[in-house]
Point group: C2
Chain length 336, copies 2
DNA sequence: AGACCGGGTGTGACCGCTAACAGGAGGCCC
DNA sequence: GGGCCTCCTGTTAGCGGTCACACCCGGTCT
């Protein structure tokens, strides 16, 4: 019914050249006479010709697609990263195919990676913030370019990561600088490297300041968990400063403190992590740590592209430093 | 260096059959002897054979990929929709390729669609909530399956949409039922259909209740805008009920009201839209309207698949009703 | 017994592109 | 003027699948 899409030969016929010349024009090959190039381009425009990437992928063995393996792309962090990745990839002429994964276990990850490999993607970016992902990754074919984001720092794979520890250190130090004797930490899920890094940074800052290290308050990433932890924290009169592993956790904490009549920042100071766009509108505006997702995306892609283009070279590890964003949720501790 | 990936012929040779038989096994063709099927499957497993989708796409003319055109996938709504879409597509054996667009103008959209067409995607889902997108879409090749989500209700294209008006009506009615004389509305950007639908629903509810219709308070989707509008609203003693076009707007309003000493819900009631996961932890917990992104994704995909599989049939329009989630940000108006 | 049928399998063409090579035209050298 | 190098262009062979078709074989029908 529908007429066949025009192919290279159709363009070639119309321009009075061979299909190979059309191919050369399309790929920017140098040795084409200017006049010929123009004729070909005219023919392309006239026919509305659109190169068939599938055919190209077949013969070259690689499609111009980057496969992403991610989990819960609804969360602000992953979503931002994904968007930045897509943006950056597009600039280099790559499309992005997402493969979300419910659980980051071995089976699920392998399944998604398999799907990407079946499409002969040019490379894979794994946003694999948990332990179990690493195991899955080791078993993967070695010949496909791969970059992990926020993955296991102790595994020998190309890795781009936000410097969680540095961010946490900055947050903790900021609180310490305000005069607090110590800082409590509501952490993310224990199997995420992000959590581990933030915990580590928090501990380091306390240790090097000679401050006492309070027990860790474990949570997940949700405001609900933050609320629960906040209720507990609110009942402890000693607590004057809290650093939460992300902004939503902080939101929950803020609400719990509010309900218990503990004022922020007058009675208790709070610092979050992520700088979600609405953090500036919490009550009070939240001091937080902002990771640069754009930089992470650029670094990942660059790392992937060097792997794709050549066999060797390129850094295998890149760390992006986040910045502290000071707002009104931090103040000196109350005097007693 | 790296050995060529095994192809169908390799499997065929090992299993002692022809490549065509391997193909039949792979595609679940009925007429294959059980014993042969097993031999082939064993060979596939032994070689770690993985069908090449690019080759398949080339010969069939369509790849098993669905292209998505979206904007700002960082926002909660689009991100959730995208995730749900990906999930649903995977269940039907489709991969999802995202194409984000900075602006939803004609050129940007066409560019992304072109990219998808070059990959010979099986279908396209356009999350195109603004006017200018519709224009771009009309100029598209007619022979590629396409579904728009939250698009222009007045354009004759397959459309799946959240029933914005119904949600807004429910929100407004809920406020009216609590005893408020009227309800103010802080709306989303004027070029989004989502905004238009919510405004419409809000107006309808007021009209049919015989309530006065206050002037519209226009904003965008951000907490920052909500804050600005909230400051204005806070100064108007008559305002007792506000319905905002999304939860982040509500967050900004909440904060502004708080700063002006106007209590929620005692002095003013607020209702949002989206039910972001953290809405339950706003101060106070936010009453809001929850769209069912999963249902939208399922409907879109189903609509797309019927177009892909056959020429005719299937609904061209599907509307998903959202539900009101009552929390603590609504109360009767203060008595004076 | 021969025609017919249908399940199971193989053969060859082709999808649209790129890579490798072949070759013609023109300029420059000796 | 022949050899040679440089530009430009065409020819041919696949890449790894699917599709249309031919074929073989045993059973059933006439």
């Amino acid at each position: 019914m529908a007429v066949r899409d025009p192919a290279m030969t159709d363009v070639a016929r119309l321009a009075g050249v061979s299909h190979q010349t059309v191919s050369r024009v399309l790929n920017g090959h140098p040795n084409v006479r200017e006049q010929t190039r123009l004729r070909v381009q005219a023919a392309i425009a006239e026919l509305g010709y659109r190169p068939n990437r599938a055919a190209r992928a077949l013969v070259t063995g690689r499609s111009q697609v980057i496969g992403v393996v991610a989990q819960n792309t609804t969360l602000y962090g992953p979503a931002s990263l994904l968007a930045a990745l897509e943006q950056t990839a597009a600039e280099s002429g790559f499309a992005v195919s997402v493969g979300s994964v419910r659980d980051l276990d071995h089976r699920s990850i392998s399944a998604v990676v398999e799907r990407h490999l079946a499409h002969r993607v040019a490379g894979i970016v794994v946003i694999a913030p948990v332990e179990s992902a690493g195991e899955a990754l080791e078993r993967l074919p070695k010949d496909v370019p791969l970059v992990t984001v926020d993955g296991d720092p102790h595994r020998p794979m190309p890795l781009v990561t936000v410097d969680q520890a540095a961010g946490a250190r900055a947050a903790t130090q900021h609180l310490l600088d305000a005069g607090h004797r110590t800082v409590w930490h509501v952490s993310g899920p224990s199997d995420w490297f992000d959590s581990a890094g933030r915990i580590e940074g928090w501990r380091e800052a306390l240790t090097s300041a000679g401050a006492e290290i309070p027990p860790l308050v474990p949570a997940d990433w949700s405001a609900a968990a933050g609320y629960r932890c906040g209720q507990m924290l609110a009942r402890m009169p000693d607590v004057t400063a809290v650093f939460t592993a992300n902004d939503h956790l902080a939101l929950g904490v803020l609400r719990a403190l509010h309900e218990h009549g503990r004022r922020v920042p007058d009675d208790i100071s709070v610092v979050g992590f992520d700088d979600v766009p609405e953090a500036a509108y919490f009550i009070p505006p939240l001091t937080t740590v902002r990771p640069d997702f754009g930089a992470v995306a650029r670094a990942s892609l660059e790392m992937l592209l060097t792997q794709i283009e050549s066999v060797s070279g390129g850094a295998l590890r890149e760390t992006i430093a986040p910045t502290l964003v000071a707002r009104r949720s931090v103040a000196p501790p109350p005097r007693r």
